[in-house]
């Protein structure tokens, strides 16, 4: 399996809406800038495993429930 062919998408926008959380709130909880959250949501930036874990933990989900990997 070629890693380059895997596309990472996420449910951040939906989960934020469910938890009534703004981008700024989430950014402050996980210790990054709001711009980073925007970039992750848009799919422009792939977060590190640690940040992905922190984000998932904030929503009480697993990484796979927040981020989806499609070939």
């Amino acid at each position: 399996m070629d890693v380059k062919n895997i596309v990472l998408s996420n449910r951040l926008h939906v989960l934020r809406a469910e938890h009534k959380m703004t981008q700024k709130d989430l950014a402050e909880k996980v210790g990054v800038s709001r711009q980073t959250i925007i970039s992750i949501e848009k799919g422009n930036y792939t977060p590190s495993l640690l940040l992905a874990y922190q984000i998932a933990k904030t929503f009480g989900k697993t990484i796979e429930e927040v981020f989806t990997f499609e070939e």
């Binding site: 950014a27 210790g31 990054v32 800038s33 711009q35 980073t36 970039s39 977060p47 590190s48 940040l51």
Partner: protein, 134 residues
């Protein structure tokens, strides 16, 4: 909060800047080059010390500063920018070597060849050092 070692480092830079600036610009005992260097170091240290003072006094600014400095996306962008800078620098140096050779400016060519060789050697060394680490 910024640790004391960093503050101490800025104070040392300020003192070094002053030690270069005073004998050069005020006493005119040494070359003005050193005075310019001292002034630059002094200004840099003062700006950094003011920033440290602001960070220690203003909690909101400290939080913003910490987030911006530890943000992994910013670190990623910074690393990417350094990587591309190195890449383009090597290409530009290569072009300059060809250009200066055509213009028969061999002294500059020698300097550029030494520079590019040094850069590539450091790159290779860092690559193998990091490869053994990760």
């Amino acid at each position: 909060m910024i640790n004391r070692n960093r503050t101490f480092g800025y104070v040392v830079i300020l003192v070094v800047g002053g030690l270069l600036f005073v004998p050069s610009i005020i006493l005119e005992k040494i070359d003005s080059f050193w005075g310019g260097l001292g002034a630059a170091l002094g200004i840099l240290a003062i700006v950094r010390l003011l920033q440290v003072a602001r960070i220690n006094k203003n909690k909101n600014y400290a939080k913003k500063w910490s987030t911006n400095n530890n943000d992994e996306r910013i670190i990623h962008i910074s690393t990417e920018a350094r990587s591309r800078t190195f890449y383009f620098t090597v290409i530009i140096e290569g072009i300059l070597i060809v250009l200066f050779t055509a213009l028969n400016m061999m002294e500059l060519v020698k300097v550029l060849i030494c520079l590019i060789t040094g850069q590539l050697m450091i790159y290779c060394f860092m690559f193998y050092a990091l490869r053994s680490k990760y």
